[in-house]
Assembly symmetry: C2
Homo-oligomer: 459 residues x 2
């Protein structure tokens, strides 16, 4: 089965949960019926999308029935009680294996919930299944295809989370981002997504990288935000971090006064149609009275661009050092399970010294300082969320980025800055996101600005 | 078998490795013979000390033989090639289970090395066995007894690591500290120990707490330091941290100009003999021309004391929030495996809100600022490493601190500051350490000052 859909921001109908919840309370719908509709969509779309590693249909039905009872008693546990959700298969779940897209972890089943999974269950959400990740969250692709065109990549590493939300199988899925793993697949599959401030959502047992973040993919800004806050109120951010600030009420649209455009190392790689779509959107934003700051108009913006000019390679060096011991463990026993990108990272890590790593840390810190300096110059920064719409899988197989170029999404990982992508553009019938990036802890503000952009008819 | 030894800093002969290594190179000793002597000591002392959970004698012999070959070929891998070492059983080892002192993890065997274990093996060290930890590194005691008196506590949570080094079974053992878990057992068992700057040694998979640190217990300052640096050069610090700074050459003794004495909440709980021994030591230090700054003589020191006045409770609150989701996982399936201190922490965590946690983070940050302010007032801070020598197990069973009062050792955990304890005092024939605590990244400097103290005949 092959799927080709034409994406249009104006007519796209994403799956939402907050709307259905009103009907749960009113008694005209319920969590079990909602789940069954999700399962029907899964049955129809999954043969082409291949976004799930494991589905726990019976467990989900039991959880949905319990939710129905809570609503009937007038006691839902949270704003996401009864919401079916997908969990990236890097994250541990007590009732399903956690295989991380890597044969070395085949059958790995620690039988415990990661922090955010525990929080989701405590909030009454329904943990429906595990979504496909590239191997160990790196670049080697899994089987998943794009929700809008099965010949195209879903992006990575949160391939499944991006695709199952894009295909309306679930309203929300959890992803994670080390380089560009939430914002990019979200863009490719017409998701909203929040990659929060570093440390904003508790990573649980998987803390091995100083640039990794948990992120939330959703069909709507409201579901994205409410899921984030319901998790953070229960499991917090990473140890020692305050967690995403905000209430469960989704931020209202915020019209910014001034937005700075960051280009990053991805700018020269943009295709003409994507660049044109973005420039047209910028003109539309400016026409509504928002000042747009471009390269050359601000010394501080130029300084940031210089500091992120080598963003991807710098991130890869940091990650390679930080994972070299765990990759060495795997290589020793299961070398054959490592794909080309992981082998390359292992080699890169082995070639680095502690002093190299320390120098990379200083470069990253310097880039973060340049971001902070922009606080007085703009309300937020914007850019495309990817170098263009999802490429054809056959076109990028065997390249350095077999799930798509990471450069636009890598910036917020390096900076630890909050970023929200909103699916406001279509290029050649495929979705393309615009991302809003802010200062640390501006998660609510960038969400509000992204909501304003989504309402501003930019397409 | 019962052991009662009388400790005297002047006559105590700890087991050292760096001295033997010279003989390995000279060919008059070798790693296999050294290991066999360790195993003889273990056979003699372990029936009373009970410091090991698992011993891998055959694996250690093979590793020792390989080390012998490397020395024979003139190619040792590092300064710790051939060194037998114990690993606290919170830390994963590919060839032994990791049961964390908790029946919920009975048989847990992930078959991979944690970052520092991997680094130790890469440096040629011999991972001899896993040492007893209190349950999950908290307060509920295991079977281990004090190396100098089997009726007394070895301290915790690094109970086994402290005791096996104190009993000369191995020259070095790895511990970890969340509240007072390295410095206290080291003091009780006459170890040297370094609890490094926060993030200084890679914690590997166990990153669940923002106050946890890996530490190194040793019979000598040189072995302590060289082991630290050999690990850090290979596995670094925690992700995103620069790791302990310094070369493999152990710091030379550093005579300080000015030392500030911190009292902490433990001061009123000191027994008269320990207080007298400490005051006598301070007088001896002053007599050698070092200025001693006491409470009341410095406003900044007073400000620090106020900021750490609630150190233990503040630390417990932070930890309780940070571990509530993982304890909830265990409680759900294995409630009967949780001892009283873990149940109490679970209850405490459940009663806290995210805002409570954020307020505790701010208090901790404020305390760290007070420490930083002291940088211009003194070269380092000193204090006792514990409230006195190891208490009798029967006297503290069922109390809030069943492995001894944590207050003196908790300070460096809260502050994330480097601390070294040196076994320079004896009280009633039992060891008592003096700790030197410094500014962040002053690990080498506090080690050097501790070496000077050790040479200064304070006892």
């Amino acid at each position: 089965m092959e799927t080709t859909l034409t994406y249009s921001p104006a007519t796209h109908k994403p799956l939402t949960f907050h709307t259905a919840r009103e009907d749960f309370i009113g008694g005209t719908d319920n969590a079990r019926a909602y789940l069954e509709r999700c399962l029907e969509t899964i049955d129809a779309r999954e043969p082409a999308v291949l976004g799930w590693v494991t589905l726990n249909r019976e467990g989900a039905r039991q959880a949905a029935d319990a939710s129905v009872e809570r609503y009937r008693a007038g006691r839902p546990l949270s704003l996401i009680d009864g919401m079916p959700i997908g969990i990236k298969d890097l994250i541990e779940t007590r009732d399903m294996p956690t295989e991380m897209g890597c044969a070395a972890f085949k059958g790995n089943f620690p039988k415990r919930d990661s922090a955010l999974v525990r929080a989701l269950r405590d909030a009454g959400a329904i943990v429906l299944g595990k979504t496909v990740t590239t191997a160990l969250g790196f670049l080697d692709a899994g089987p998943t295809t794009n929700a809008f065109d099965a010949r195209r990549t879903p992006g990575g590493s949160s391939s499944g989370s991006g695709a199952v939300v894009g295909a309306n199988m679930v309203p929300v899925a959890i992803g994670s981002q080390l380089v560009g793993s939430v914002i990019r697949p979200a863009s490719f599959n017409a998701n909203w997504a929040l990659k929060p401030t570093y440390g904003g959502i508790n990573r649980g047992e998987r803390m091995g990288f100083s640039q990794s973040h948990v992120g939330v993919h959703a069909g709507s800004a409201i579901d994205m935000w409410q899921t984030t806050i319901e998790i953070v109120q229960r499991a917090g951010g990473d140890p020692g971090h305050p967690g995403v600030y905000g209430t469960t009420e989704a931020p209202k649209p915020i019209k910014p006064k001034r937005l700075a455009v960051f280009e990053s190392e991805g700018w020269p790689r943009l295709d003409a149609a994507s660049r044109e779509a973005f420039e047209k959107a910028l003109s539309a934003i400016a026409a509504q009275g928002v000042e747009i700051v471009r390269r050359g108009q601000s010394q501080k913006l130029e300084a940031l661009e210089r500091a992120i000019a080598d963003c991807t390679a710098l991130s890869m060096r940091l990650n390679a050092w930080e994972q070299r011991w765990s990759l060495a463990n795997i290589a020793e026993q299961h070398m054959d399970t490592l794909g080309p990108s992981l082998r390359e990272s292992l080699e890169l890590g082995r070639g680095l010294t502690l002093d190299d790593f320390r120098e990379s840390l200083r470069e990253r810190e310097a880039a973060r300082t340049q971001l902070a300096a922009l606080a007085s110059e703009c309300d937020a920064l914007i850019s495309l969320a990817a170098c263009g719409p999802a490429p054809l899988i056959d076109d990028i197989k065997g390249t350095a980025f077999p799930t798509g170029d990471v450069s636009f999404s890598c910036v917020s990982s390096l900076l630890g800055a909050p970023s929200v992508t909103t699916p406001v553009l279509a290029v050649n019938g495929m979705p393309l996101g615009i991302q809003v990036m802010g200062q640390h802890h501006d998660d609510a503000k960038v969400t509000g600005i992204a909501c304003w952009l989504a309402n501003a008819s930019l397409g």
